[in-house]
């Protein structure tokens, strides 16, 4: 008899699956009960982090005594239940449903961005779907490629509803919805507008949960390959803190594996002239944002101040709470700060014409592509960042050049823009920016050394966290939230003027950047937590853990920027925000 781990106080239920007796806690669904026996019941609409939909019906199983098949995702087990997952009708159902989906699907797998990484493809392979007898009923629906971040291909949509749930239940936005009925049902936006013209903030969480290629990031890999082939160009790359703890997933490594060294080697082998670190930009952000916070605190500026490094969050503020943008820190994101330095200080020092520099950034994020395209992010027609790749696109590049990633030797980031502190590393997790800022703000204000630099109150996966920190004679009240569902709760207070906080950190994606919309397909909350732990591990193991102690940052200020918030710092490292009007308002 197979016995799952007994949970205290939850009564156990006895059943059989394919005649194998099993005992599971009451409340367990058939799908999870089967998993404990190593039986993977096929599913497409089911996602472990989402509310159960029971739409796709692929997980239908036979239960003795029941006239109809039951959905394994939504049916709780009961005492004496006899489940069969492999009878003729179950197999007929699985095969028929896949055939029906394929008949209404654009089957150009070979040129699909999700080729070999597609749940539908995987299941068709598993069930050996060959020569489907059904005629194609696919309607001619073109790809929708209207913004720098996200591309939708309705011809690949299987109407599972995962994207709808992510947008509504995780972000509270509901930019995507079902419309129409019967075979005309589609996943679309309000009034069929392009996503960027709706409430959408381009976070890309939809692309992360889509089981097929119906919602994907805009692919910019060719821009990078072209630049790398151009002998005239000096191509530099920066990598966000959360990429190095996610990249390994795609190469058969354990979730949360720290692959910084292999990643740097891979980027060098790809042909980048310099491999730098966004963590350096994160340290720089702390210098500016920390100084801005102190300035606001001491000179009666707008409080609470809110972080501005998550572009999905900035888009959200501009679209949904435009009257509150004064609360956003004017500091650019680490990526854009890095880009500004890479297009000014760096070429001056290296003796390179700025026009020959191409800055590429690898980000866990689809909204970063939009951020890089903002006209504010650059000067004299030269953008801070030329191309943004998501983690997923970097995976493609590594596969393209045929690297055996797992076996690559480790190497170090280049200098000067590759040196960073633990404070920069934790930017990738919800609470990390706040903790990094507090480490610096505390020491700047008090002039004392911070003894305990871990701020455990702002760590972890809770949606909203708060803490109060006594700095000199003033108690600073801080708040940290991730996902826009949670951000909205915080913003309702800010809007009403009742927010009790001085400083608020918001990241748009669950878990922060480690759970970003550009991360590897298959990212779940369980994996996010492992990546989060990995970032804190990186921080713990670094000799320098406070941004202001970064010697390269100190040099940068000494040689180039002067002080935080200086005239030059403002020109290069700060930005402005503006209300984004929607084409429709329902007031």
């Amino acid at each position: 008899m197979t016995t799952a781990n007994k949970v205290k106080d939850i009564p156990m239920v006895h059943l059989t699956i394919n005649n194998i007796p099993i005992e599971v806690p009451k409340g367990t669904k058939i799908m999870q009960a089967a998993q404990t026996l190593g039986i993977d019941i096929p599913h497409l609409c089911y996602h472990e982090d989402q509310r159960i939909k029971a739409h796709c019906r692929l997980c239908a199983v036979e239960v003795v005594g029941k006239r109809r098949l039951l959905a394994a995702c939504s049916t709780e087990v009961w005492e004496g239940m006899e489940v069969h997952t492999d009878t003729q009708i179950v197999r007929d159902t699985q095969v028929s449903i896949l055939q029906l989906m394929l008949a209404n699907h654009n089957k150009d797998c070979l040129s699909c961005p999700r080729n070999q990484n597609c749940d539908l493809q995987r299941l068709c392979s598993r069930f050996n779907i060959q020569h489907s007898p059904l005629p194609s009923v696919l309607k001619d629906e073109p790809r929708i490629e209207t913004n720098p971040s996200i591309v939708r291909d309705p011809s690949k949509c299987i109407r599972c509803g995962r994207c709808i749930r992510a947008c509504k239940d995780v972000q509270g936005i509901a930019a995507l919805t079902y419309a129409g009925r019967s075979s005309d049902i589609v996943v679309t936006t309000a009034f069929n507008k392009p996503m960027e013209a709706t409430d959408c903030i381009l976070c890309g969480q939809c692309s992360l949960v889509c089981p097929t290629g119906a919602i994907v990031e805009k692919d910019d890999t060719n821009k990078v390959l072209d630049a790398l082939q151009d002998p005239q160009k000096h191509v530099i790359v920066q990598v966000a803190p959360s990429v190095r703890v996610a990249l390994g997933d795609a190469f058969g490594m354990e979730p949360g594996a720290i692959v910084t060294g292999q990643m740097v080697t891979a980027l060098k082998l790809l042909g980048f002239d310099k491999v730098f670190d966004t963590n350096f930009g994160a340290d720089l952000t702390i210098m500016e944002e920390g100084a801005e916070f102190l300035d606001r605190l001491q000179n009666g500026g707008t409080l609470p101040m809110m972080t501005s490094c998550s572009p999905g969050w900035v888009n959200y503020m501009e679209k949904h709470f435009p009257n509150c943008i004064g609360h956003l820190s004017s500091a650019k994101s680490p990526m854009s700060m890095f880009g500004a330095i890479a297009k000014t200080y760096y070429p001056e020092n290296a003796g390179i014409d700025v026009k020959d520099i191409v800055t590429v950034s690898v980000m866990p994020c689809t909204a970063k592509k939009f951020e890089a395209a903002r006209p504010e992010m650059g000067r004299n027609g030269i953008p801070d960042v030329d191309v943004v790749l998501t983690t997923r696109e970097l995976i493609k590049l590594i596969k393209y050049v045929g690297l055996s990633f797992k076996n690559l030797p480790e190497s170090e980031f280049d200098n000067p823009l590759g040196l960073s502190t633990g404070a920069g590393a934790i930017f990738g997790a919800t609470g990390g920016v706040m903790e990094a800022a507090l480490r610096t703000v505390y020491e700047k204000v008090t002039g004392e050394t911070l003894e305990k630099i871990e701020f455990s109150e702002v760590r972890g996966f809770d949606g909203i966290k708060e803490a109060a920190i006594k700095i000199k004679d003033r108690e600073i009240r801080v708040c940290v939230a991730h996902t826009l569902q949670n951000a909205r709760r915080i913003m309702e207070q800010v809007k009403k003027g009742t927010s009790p906080y001085d400083f608020i950190e918001i990241m748009a994606c669950p878990g922060g950047c480690i759970g970003g919309g550009g991360q590897p397909i298959g990212t779940t909350n369980a994996i996010r937590k492992k990546r989060m732990a990995a970032l804190y591990e990186i921080d713990r193991d670094l000799p320098l853990r406070k941004s202001h102690e970064n010697p390269e940052i100190q040099t940068l200020y000494r040689e180039f920027l002067g002080e935080p918030l200086s005239q030059r710092a403002h020109e290069l490292l700060h930005t402005t925000y503006h209300k984004v009007a929607k084409p429709y308002e329902f007031n």
């Binding site: 029971a54 098949l69 959905a71 029906l100 059904l134």
Partner: protein
Amino acid sequence: MSNQIKFLTKNFGQYDTSSIGSYMNIGGFEALRKAVTMDPEKICDRITEVKVRGRGGAEYPLGRKWSQARAVVGENKVVVCNADEGETTTFKDRELIQKDPFNLIEALIIAGYVCGATDGYIYMRAEYACLRPLLLNAIRQAKNYGFLGENILGKGFNFNLHLYSGGGAYVCGEGTALIRSIEGKAGRPRMKPPFIKVSGLFARPTCLNNVESLSIVPHLLVDTDNVYASCGSGESIGTKMISVAGNVNHPGVFEIPFGTTVREIIYNLAGGIQHDRDIQLIQFGGASGKIADASILDTPYTYDDLRNAGVMVGSGGILVIDERTSVIDFLRMNQEFFSEESCGQCTPCREGNLHIKIILDKIANHTATQEDIRIMATIARVMSMSSLCGLGETAQNTLQSAMLTFPEVFEVGGTES
């Protein structure tokens, strides 16, 4: 007209449907007055005694349903009347509302009393908009007379009634879709659990009943002569509202005692087939119903007899199709309906209806292969076995019964076309 009986229809034409006073003059609200003196469980027992089954089509025992609704622990329970009546050839609920609106109001108040509900909702199909003023007037008058509102009949029982019109979707006759529609959401079914008896309308415990099921109760409570129990036999006791349509001389709504034969219904009550043509097929229970050929004529109209004959009571609709329409053309028409009305959420129903329509067209055009027939049968079975809701489950009832009753229609040429 000896087969007709007046039990549910006994008030028809007997009072002014715009006047509560007129209704009270013929004994209106006596059932409610009696009900509030009774132990609610006794009312459930009374219903169970005469084996009333839900008349919407699912045939769930009404007494048991109410008893379960009573037992659910929860605040602000709701009773909902399903007046969506979307099944094709089904229009008996319209007659009950139009000709005896106060009886329905009275029934809902009794249901509220039995289930311990604070609110009742009538969800009426969009096409019955002409009945809205009638019902709204009846609700208003009932409120003015103290049959709705606070402390009804001095029994400390509070109950309010609301009328809601649908948007025209067939699927909103399905319980969870109906509830979403009232809530202002798109009318698409959801998975169960949670079952609506626990978490239904506005997440409140909800007891959902068909118009006819409800309408029986007031009559039953004052049925001192046991007229109801004297009709029918076995599992099919009492009377049944049926609506007959198609190629008959006198289509219409009839109340019959259970046990009346199909022949009596079609040839006596509905006046026989136009121009004495032959019957091609008869569909029982609307578009999601099953079909039979003329060999069913001498079957008594009861739950069990119809089931043994391969069809079902379902919605109570009976559609008679004469020899001029081929089985395939009838199936294509029926399929057209479901290809429109599927909500589109679940794969088997959304895509299956589309492909079955294509294959039926091929059969009509003589281009279908045996492989097509095999695929069609498989899809129909998969739909009925695995769809999310009752619509997908029953959408191919007609086709599946046709394949059994008229196998020759599906004998097509060789495997190559």
